[in-house]
Structures are given as C-alpha cells and as structure tokens.
C-alpha cells in the first residue's frame, strides 16, 4: 500500500492527524494550481481549504485503484468549474482575449519564424509567462499548470480529465504556443 492510501485508511479509521499529513503533503501543489487558475492569493487560499474539506467529506467514496493525487486534483478542477458556472462565466472562453478558432497555432514551422523568447532573459520570460497565463483559456491554462508547475505526467492528466492522452498532449501544445504568441505582443 502506498503512503497516500495508508494515510487515507488511517483517516477513515478515525485518526485525524493522518488527514493533517495529507494536507501538509498536498497544500503547496494544490495552492499553486488553484492560485494560477483564479489569479488571486486570498481567494486561492479559501478555495484550497474548501477543496480539502470536500476531499475529507467524500473520502469514503475514494477507490484505491486510482491515484490519490489525480482524485484530489479532479475534485479541485470540478470545484473551480462550479465556481465559474455559478458566476455565469464560460469555462472555456473565460478571460480569453484571442479568437481561438482564428488564432489556432500552426503545426508547421513558418519559414520566417521570429525569435520571440530568445531575445529575453530567463527571469523576464518567467514574468511574461505569468502574465500570459491569465490570457489563455482556463481549460488550456489548467493543463499547462498541471504539466509545468505541478509536474504531472500526460497519463495522469488524461486520467483526471477523462480524455485520451493524445488530446491532452495536443491541448498542452496549444497552451504553450498561445503563450509564445502572447509573448510576441507588445505590453
């Protein structure tokens, strides 16, 4: 039995401290994911707390054949989608300045491709990526954050989103190319 499953079993047996250990293990990655999705620290802290409360109350429904991390992030993802639905925000086009269909990144390397990223220092690129993250559709931002901030594998992301691995790979590629195109824009 892996560490997570053991901690869940101990929590279900009434050992509250075991759940505190789960919180301490996942609070940082979960907070970073939610923080990047809502873009505001205080709101992200509240949401992270709510996700842990939800996780605790549905712990008895957890099936050990799934990875706990994937299950936890699925709860978090649904929580954020619900929040946007309640605020009547389209979960795909939220905060999206680009007309996605017209601006779909090309799979081919153009002959005269401009060097967008290479002209900046690494720290400048990081800042630009943070800004660009808020401008791409949330459904792509989520996958980008999981892949590059939370260090998820494509298989794990496919398990969370119930989508084929190929679709996930394609969407992460789209997210990165959109960010690269936004980096091209003048501030």
């Amino acid at each position: 039995m892996d560490e997570d499953k053991e901690l869940i079993q101990r929590t279900l047996n009434g050992e509250e401290e075991a759940f505190a250990m789960i919180i301490r293990k996942y609070q940082r990655p979960l907070f970073n994911y939610i923080g990047r999705m809502v873009g505001e620290r205080e709101m992200a802290l509240d949401f992270t707390q709510e996700v842990f409360v939800k996780t605790y109350s549905s712990l008895h429904t957890y099936k050990p054949q799934y990875k706990f991390r994937a299950w936890l992030f699925k709860i978090a993802s649904n929580f954020i989608i619900d929040y946007w639905r309640k605020r009547k925000l389209d979960t795909f086009s939220f905060d999206q300045p680009h007309t996605w269909d017209q601006d779909r990144p090309s799979y081919e390397i153009p002959d005269n491709e401009l060097s967008v990223v290479s002209k900046y220092e690494l720290s400048q690129i990081r800042k630009k990526i943070e800004n660009a993250l808020g401008k791409i559709p949330p459904s792509l931002r989520e996958l980008f954050v999981w892949r590059h901030i939370n260090d998820f594998s494509y298989d794990e992301m496919a398990e969370i989103k119930d989508l084929p691995v190929g679709t996930i790979k394609n969407r992460v590629f789209q997210a990165k190319e959109m960010i690269r195109h936004i980096l091209e824009e003048k501030p």
Partner: protein, 196 residues
C-alpha cells in the same frame, strides 16, 4: 526526413518520444537551421515554464484547515487582534458601568476612590511582608536540604572505602529486592485490604 512539426518539437524536448523518433529528429536537426532555431526557441520557453516561482501557503495553513474540519479537536487559535478587541470592549464596558453606578446612585466618586486607594495600600503592605517571610523560609529550607545531601555523600564515601566492591554489589541488590518487595507488600495491603 521533412521539417519538424511544432507539437513534435515539444514532445522531443520533454522526452516523450520513442528512441527511434528521437534519433530521427536529432539526425534532421544536424542539417536544418530552421528547425534548430525553432527547437532553441521552445527549449527556452520550456525552461522558463518549468522554473516558474511557486506560491507558498501560510505556515499554519494545515492547522487552519484542520480547525475548519474538526473544530473540537483542533480549535482555531484566537488572533492577537481578537484578544485586543475583546479586552478593549470589556474594559470600556466595565468603565461605563462603573461611572453609570455613581451617576445614578448619587454617591461621591472621590470618596470611593480614596477608600479604594487606602485599601489597596493596606493589601500591598500585608502581601509584601508575607512574600518576604516566604523568601526567608525558602532559603533556610534550601540550606538544610543541601547540608543533608553533603552529610549523605560523605557517609557513602566513607562506607565505600570500608566495604569491598563485591560486598557493595550484594548490599545494593539486597536493598533493591527489599525495596521492591516492601513496595508491593504495602500496595497489596492498602489496595486490596489483604491482612498481613
């Protein structure tokens, strides 16, 4: 091999391709400057993406969450601000009640305060005399205990010189056995009421 596709470049950089696909790409890159530039560009983007600064939750975040889930077991710590507000409210209410009593009862506030001052002075005198006596008694007690220990150490020092090491071991063992049997005997007598 034709020029690389952009999605292929990302998968190549993330080491998500099979060894044969990776080999094919590397062979193509040797002779294609357009693809070399495209790879360098995406490599930098990936490097920056993978080293974005992480946000840290507050140090007591897990405790806050636990207090939310289990309020009886993990009570939420009351903040200093809450303590200050509660104290200020309590003090103000007491002061208002105090003033209201003198306004409505018609008693003199000055004579009350004078009486209160005298009482406080008497109490201070009594308490200070008591504290001084306690300090004296405490220091005397410490001196007596220290002296007893000195005598005991001297006594055991002489005793070990007089008795051989083998005899010392026998004596210590006998003392231990005697103490343990005495302890259990007393316990049995008083807890179970068994007659000796």
């Amino acid at each position: 091999m034709n020029c690389l596709r952009v999605d292929q470049i990302y998968l190549y950089l993330e080491k998500e391709l099979s060894p044969s696909e990776t080999k094919g790409i590397e062979e193509h890159l040797v002779s294609c400057s357009k693809c070399q530039n495209a790879v360098a560009e995406r490599r930098l983007l990936l490097r920056a993406s993978e080293s974005l600064p992480l946000w840290d939750p507050p140090a007591d975040f897990s405790r806050q969450v636990m207090a939310h889930i289990f309020p009886d077991i993990f009570p939420d710590r009351v903040s200093i601000r809450k303590w200050i507000v509660a104290s200020a409210v309590g003090f103000s209410s007491a002061a208002l009640a105090f003033l209201a009593y003198f306004v409505f009862s018609g008693q003199s506030l000055l004579s009350f305060l004078t009486g209160l001052g005298r009482g406080a002075l008497d109490l201070f005198r009594t308490v200070s005399v008591l504290v001084l006596k306690l300090v004296k008694l405490g220091s005397l007690l410490i001196r007596v205990i220290v002296r007893i220990f000195e005598i005991l150490i001297q006594f055991f020092g002489h005793l070990t010189k007089m008795i051989s090491p083998e005899m010392q071991i026998i004596l210590i063992t006998l003392t231990l056995i005697l103490s343990v049997s005495l302890f259990f005997g007393v316990k049995r007598k008083y807890l179970t009421g068994e007659k000796a």
